[in-house]
Symmetry: C2
Subunit: 227 residues, 2 copies
């Protein structure tokens, strides 16, 4: 399995990140059956629908891309929001683009405690009842009670790579991290798509509990191999 030296990979990834280049190409250099992938730790952020963007920023407003994300076509916007809950408020919360059909506020359980809500742990894009948080923008305010979630940990995987690894869209796998706070994380859902950058996405609580950061290498452990 260790055909490429772990430390070498780590260094290249962090150099890519420092230079704001996407580490996608690096993944392609790993051998075809390699189960090592790159971590992306997501800080709290908001996805907006068109209607809420208008309410918060005014008629005809469009998001300004600030930085390209690892997934092709996705970006973090220059615009930020205040997110308020019953116990506290957080400022400077980044909006990610492009716009979506429904607004989603992704926070960690730590953030939830600070704000005074307990978000359900749910897959991104799934809409359902949630506690309410208030979004405050320069032109208006929106209350959302369907999209406040702690994101279910997941792996974005390129379809071709998933095929090589015999992993299906929606399959649950486990992921092993290394270091002093080494973990095996079960129930990691794999979401495959064409031309996707393969990445392991977790929130800040999960990143901190494993003491890993964006760019760190982890390894997929197939559920049936550890049971």
């Amino acid at each position: 399995m260790n055909t490429v030296d772990e430390r070498t990979i780590q260094e290249i990834v962090h150099q890519c990140l420092a230079a704001s280049r996407r580490p996608v190409d690096l993944v392609a250099t790993l051998s075809p059956g390699d189960l090592r992938i790159i971590t992306g730790v997501s800080n709290r952020h908001v996805h907006l629908c068109r209607e809420d963007l208008t309410e918060l920023f005014g008629e005809g407003y469009e998001l300004t891309p600030l930085k390209e994300l690892s997934q092709p076509g996705f970006f973090s916007a220059r615009e930020t929001l205040i997110v308020g809950g019953p116990k506290g408020a957080l400022t400077g919360i980044r909006i990610l683009g492009p716009l979506r059909k429904t607004t989603q506020i992704e926070i960690s359980l730590s953030d939830g405690r600070y704000l005074g809500v307990v978000p359900p742990v749910r897959q991104s894009g799934e809409v359902g009842p949630s506690p309410a948080l208030t979004l405050i923008g320069p032109r208006g305010t929106v209350v959302n009670n369907t999209g406040v979630i702690a994101a279910w940990r997941h792996i974005h995987m390129d379809e071709a790579q998933a095929g090589r690894l015999d992993i299906r869209n929606g399959e649950m796998v486990s992921v092993r991290t290394s270091g002093s706070r080494a973990l095996v994380l079960d129930n990691v859902v794999v979401r495959t798509a064409k031309d996707m950058a393969t990445q392991f996405h977790i929130d800040t609580d999960e990143g901190n509990s494993a003491n890993i950061q964006t760019g760190d290498i982890v390894e997929i452990v197939r559920a049936h191999t550890i049971r």
Copy 2:
């Protein structure tokens, strides 16, 4: 292994906690070889030495016990402090008693990010270089740069129980949690002592990443059984 129904245990533990009774006796009711133990999630807190207590609260000051902790003789105090770092400050940080030989400020990596420091992940009681945080009390201020840590996850275990389970003081084990964010946490150090309440101690990042809370049941997995 499942001689006692998981849900029954869970309910009893949470009833004990709600009534502020220590769930110590419950542990004793589990069968002798049972590897299930109770979780305690530690929020950020401070242990003070005599000298710093005097500096912060004035000459001759003594802590006022507010609530007995699960470990016999330990308590959370009525007194709280402000903890300040280069990027932020947190108020109402609980002091735990009794006093110790050296001051220790236990925060999560999430707290560290908010305060602007990266605490080393280190066992409680180990003194060494650390980033600096400022403690602010009603009568004075103390800067500490040796005891700012994220606590190494650990199990407090009664000596007799450790003996039955053939676990030695200082041994590393793994712990398995269940639920949607199920984890196996490696490198959990076991610290045995006489008349200790057996408990799995983690910080809020770790609790949130596993989506478990104080009182939840986890299971010790011996390192050599999962490798």
